[in-house]
Structure formats: C-alpha cells, structure tokens
C-alpha cells in the first residue's frame, strides 16, 4: 500500500471532521488569551484596590493593611517574561486536555466501531494504519504548540513590560511543542492498543498528573518528557540547566519512537492466522 494513500486518508479525516481546526484553535486561543487574562486580572485587581482605598478614606477605617495591598499589587510586578512563563502552565494542562478530547477518534475509535474491518480484509497493514497517525497528529500538535508559544511571547511583550531573548522563546516553544506531541503519542498508543479511546484519554490525563508527582517524590524530576513544561516555563524567568534540557528533549524523542514501535508490535502480534494455508485477506 502506498504511504501517500494512507496519509491522505488520515489527512482527510483530520481536516474534514474539523479536528485539525479544533487542535490549532484550542492551542492558539490559550496563546493569546492567557496573557490577555493576566493583564485583565491585573487591571481588575488595581481597580479593586483603588475602590477599597477610597472607601477607607471615606470611612476613616483602614480596610487594607500595607501587606494586604502588596498581595493585590503583585499583578503590577508581572513582566512579559513572567506572563509567558505563567502561560506555559495553561498550555500544558488545559489546552492539552482539549486536544486529547478532540483526538479521541483517531485513537482507537475506528477499531471500536469496526470501520477498519473492510480495509483490513482488503489488505491494510498495521504499519500503514498506524504510521500516518503517529506523524500527522503529533506534528500538528508540535507545530501548534511551537507557534503558540511564539504568539504568546509576542502578546506578552505587547501587554507587559520587558523583553525576551530569542533563545528563551525558542527553547520554550520547542519544549511546549514536544511535550504536547508526546502526550498525543501516548494517547494514540494507549487508544490504538486498547481500542478504547475513552480509556486512553483518562489514562493520559492520569499519567500527566501522577507521573510528575511520583518522579518528583523520588527526586527524578529531570531528564524526562514531564520535565518539559518546567523547562519551558523556566526558560523565560531563570537560568536553566542545559544538560536537563538536552537530555529531556532527546529522551522525549526516544520515548516517542518507542511508543510508535510498541504500537506497531502490539498490532502486528495481534494479527490472527486461523488457517493452515496462508490466506491473503
């Protein structure tokens, strides 16, 4: 089977069911909305503080102490770097949840609905079924996350004071993009192997919550894909460990490949041959 046909089928599904639009849009929304919300929150807090101060003057009663005011004025201290760093959290949590839900269908739904039976009987192989999925969806997620971080940095630099180094933005964008791509690959692996897209989403969400906590507990919070959100965030506000960055990126790529080959292995191992003769199906 030609790879182009297999890829075309997956691309048609991704675009015609508006899922590509959904993935890109959900990531881009956060790239713009996060810094805007942060700015808006700051303005809201300032307004609240001013209002309360006026009331204090009018009543002669000090409602806020200086320490209380400092808490509300923290939003005034947010600069562009901090805003972008805070946005990484939303990218790698809320946006990822939305993308996982959008990509439930290619993660085992076709097997569950048995729409793959006729193509299988015609000759579809596990490689041609799985490979386009492991290219199209993670690459789209990576590019969306990558561009999204650039947009987020741009919006942050417009709304807040301060500037970035290009390397910081680049490192953050690569980390965020790669992290989202890895999570998608994890979803595809679990979904296709289990033929249960819902199970895949829940498993991945649980994994992204539990694994970093466990790794942190055992002080192994570096050199793994779940360190990428921290790297992306710290790239704006702190010095980062280049070894951690390099190794985490490489380990993520290697794990992605392992997940791909694991999926292929599972599907191939599951192939059934009931006949004594070798039948072409």
């Amino acid at each position: 089977m030609k790879f182009s046909s297999a890829f075309k089928k997956e691309f048609m599904f991704f675009t015609r069911t508006m899922r590509m639009f959904g993935v890109i849009l959900s990531i881009m929304i956060f790239s713009v909305a996060d810094p805007v919300m942060l700015k808006g929150m700051g303005a809201l807090m300032n307004t609240m503080v001013d209002t309360i101060e006026e009331q204090s003057e009018a009543t002669g009663y000090e409602i806020f102490s200086e320490e209380d005011k400092a808490v509300f004025e923290i939003f005034d201290q947010i600069d562009a770097s901090t805003a972008a760093a805070m946005a990484v959290g939303d990218f790698t949590s809320t946006a990822v949840i939305i993308v996982l839900l959008i990509l439930m269908a290619p993660s085992g739904s076709e097997q569950k609905k048995r729409s793959i039976i006729i193509p299988r009987c015609a000759g579809l192989t596990p490689k041609m079924y799985v490979t386009p999925k492991f290219i199209l969806y993670p690459v789209t997620a990576f590019l969306s996350g990558f561009l999204g971080m650039f947009i987020c940095a741009g919006v942050s630099s417009i709304l807040f004071e301060g500037s970035f180094e290009f390397t910081s933005i680049l490192l953050s964008a690569v980390s965020v993009g790669l992290y989202i791509a890895f999570v998608i690959v994890l979803q595809l692996t679990i979904g296709i192997c289990s033929e249960r897209p819902g199970v895949a989403v829940i498993s991945v969400l649980a994994a992204t919550a539990i694994i970093p906590t466990m790794l942190s507990y055992f002080r192994v919070d570096k050199f793994n894909p779940f360190a990428l959100p921290s790297i992306a965030s710290e790239a704006f506000v702190a010095e980062i460990d280049p070894v951690n960055v390099g190794v985490s990126l490489i380990v993520t790529v290697i794990l992605t490949l392992i997940l791909y080959f694991t999926t292929l292995f599972v599907l191939t191992a599951r192939q059934i041959d009931n006949s004594g003769n070798e039948a072409i199906l």
Partner: protein, 306 residues
C-alpha cells in the same frame, strides 16, 4: 474453496461453535443459516482472521494456493468523511490494486448502482446505499471468496431488492459466495448450497435440491372449483390423512399424509368416486422455511424426515 473441520470457539464459558464442519466449493453460493446467536458471524469472523479460533482446521483455497477474501460485515461501518470514490481509492490502495484504479472503481460502482451516489459523502448515505457501497468495497479486488453477513438486514423492501439483484449478478459471474441471511426466500433465490447451524455444529449441509428431496413430502394440495360442505367433510374425514386444512378464499385444501405417493392415490380415488374434478392436485415439497424451522427447533429432526 473452504474446508472447515472440527471448528470450536467459546466466549468465556459459552460454547458457540462445538466442532463445526463445513465445506464450500469453488463457484458455490452457500446460504449459511441458523438461529440468532448460533455462531454464524463468529464462523465468518474466524474465516476472515478477525477473531481467533479455539480449535479446528480451516483450509482456504484449493491445492494450497492463496486466496483473496472480501468480507462485508453486518451493517458495515465506512468512512463517513469520504465520498464513495475516495473510499474505493483507499480500498484499492489497501489491496495494492495493480490495474487501472479509476476504471475498476467505475466498474464496481456500476455493478452496485452507486455511480451517482459515489460522489456524495458516505455520512449522507441511506442504509441501502451504505450496504451497496460496502459491497462495492468488498468485491473491489475481485476476491476469490466473498463473505456477506446479513447484507439485507435493516433494509426496506426496495433496498433489499436492490442488494439481492447485485448479489444475483455476482452469482452469475461464478464467484464463490458465503451468504448469511435470515431471509430464506433470498437464499432460495441465489444459493445452490445451504448449511444450517445448530448447537455449534452443522445440522444440515447439502445442495438445496438434495436437501428438499431428502425431506419427505407429506402434503397434498387439492384445488376445488366449487367447494361445498359435503366435499370438504369427505376429505376432512378421510382415514389416510393426519391433518386437514382448507383455505376458503382460494378453494385450496391441504392434506397432510404419512406417505405422499400413497396419499395421492387415495385422494385421487376419493375424488374420482365422488365425481369431483380438482383444479389442482399435487404433492408439495417442503419450503426452505419449513426445513429450517424443523431443523433449528428443539427436538427437530436433522437431515431426515419432515
């Protein structure tokens, strides 16, 4: 084309197939019958390597050559986001079709009456169109064995007629077809062989003509021109009959007898003695439906007396 020996399959503790033997020859149109849940779809899925067997031997092809199988599951799920042409292009790619793909797409769409429908997205198809597109995909690569699982289920009469016409055309091409359906008139129309599955085993398997001749005829139909009470009473009280039914609207009397030949002679004798000229007098052979019901019902006989 297909030889199955001692096929067994259980789902947890439920034994679905318990030593099934089955034989489909090249060019056969094999009607595969049985109650709901008796294992027909399981057998088809095992032949197509969709689920594993527990025990038994399956030999596909003659002389060990490889065969191509086209399988249409019940209510086929297609890719709704594609149109028919695109779907068949994808199937062609899956099959590694070497010939002129566009030409072959047009051929199968023509056979299935989907030339115009093929331009529409599949998620807008009616059930009948979906079924026809499924058949188009199934036969695309000229399979040696075509397996159709309930191809007319959930279709309206027109849809059913269209699909059966397609299957009829396929049978004329000499294709080997394994057809699973509950609609026995469809089986009688297209199949030359049937197998009736019961209790996980093949209860009856043979050519339809041979099966019918094996099931003993024991009904005589008498058409009465002007049926009166005297004639009806005469026939009803005849000592050689086991059961009597009369259909006033058609004037048809049906006499169940022990032996059709003997019954015919006695019936003719009674009619002649009383000066009755029937419009019809014949021994009837059992319908496939009667054979099927007799075979699958509890306590039913298998392959013998009916």
């Amino acid at each position: 084309m297909v030889q199955i020996k001692g096929l067994k399959k259980s789902y947890k503790n439920f034994k679905v197939l318990d030593g099934l033997d089955m034989s489909i020859g090249k060019g056969d149109v094999y009607g595969f019958l049985g109650k709901n849940g008796c294992g027909k779809s399981t057998t088809m899925n095992i032949i197509c390597d969709i689920i594993p067997k527990d025990e038994g031997e399956i030999i596909l092809g003659e002389n060990g050559e490889q065969i191509k199988i086209g399988y249409l599951p019940e209510t086929p799920a297609l890719f709704g986001y594609m149109n028919g042409y695109e779907y068949l292009e994808y199937i062609a790619a899956c099959a590694g079709y070497k010939g002129d793909v566009k030409k072959r797409i047009y051929e199968v769409l023509e056979v299935t009456g989907m030339v115009e429908g093929g331009r529409r997205r599949i998620n807008g198809y009616s059930r009948g169109m979906n079924q026809r597109m499924g058949i188009a995909a199934t036969i695309f690569n000229n399979p040696d064995l075509i397996i159709l699982d309930e191809p007319t289920s959930a279709l309206d009469p027109q849809g059913r007629a269209e699909v059966m016409a397609i299957i009829n055309n396929l049978t004329n091409t000499g294709a080997t077809i394994l057809l699973c359906t509950h609609i026995l008139s469809d089986v009688e129309r297209v199949a030359n062989r049937i197998g009736i599955l019961k209790n996980g085993k093949m209860a009856v398997e043979d050519n339809i003509i041979d099966i019918k001749s094996r099931f003993i005829h024991n009904s005589i139909e008498i058409g009465l021109k002007s049926p009166d009470e005297k004639t009806i009473t005469l026939l009803q009280n005849a000592d050689f009959i086991t059961n009597f039914r009369f259909f006033p609207q058609s004037g048809l009397a049906v006499l169940d007898v022990e032996n059709a030949d003997e019954g015919m002679l006695k019936a003719m004798s009674i009619l002649a003695e009383n000066g009755i000229s029937p419009t019809k007098l014949q021994a009837t052979s059992p319908t496939l439906e009667q054979i099927y019901i007799q075979t699958v019902s509890d306590g039913g006989m298998e392959g013998g007396r009916f």
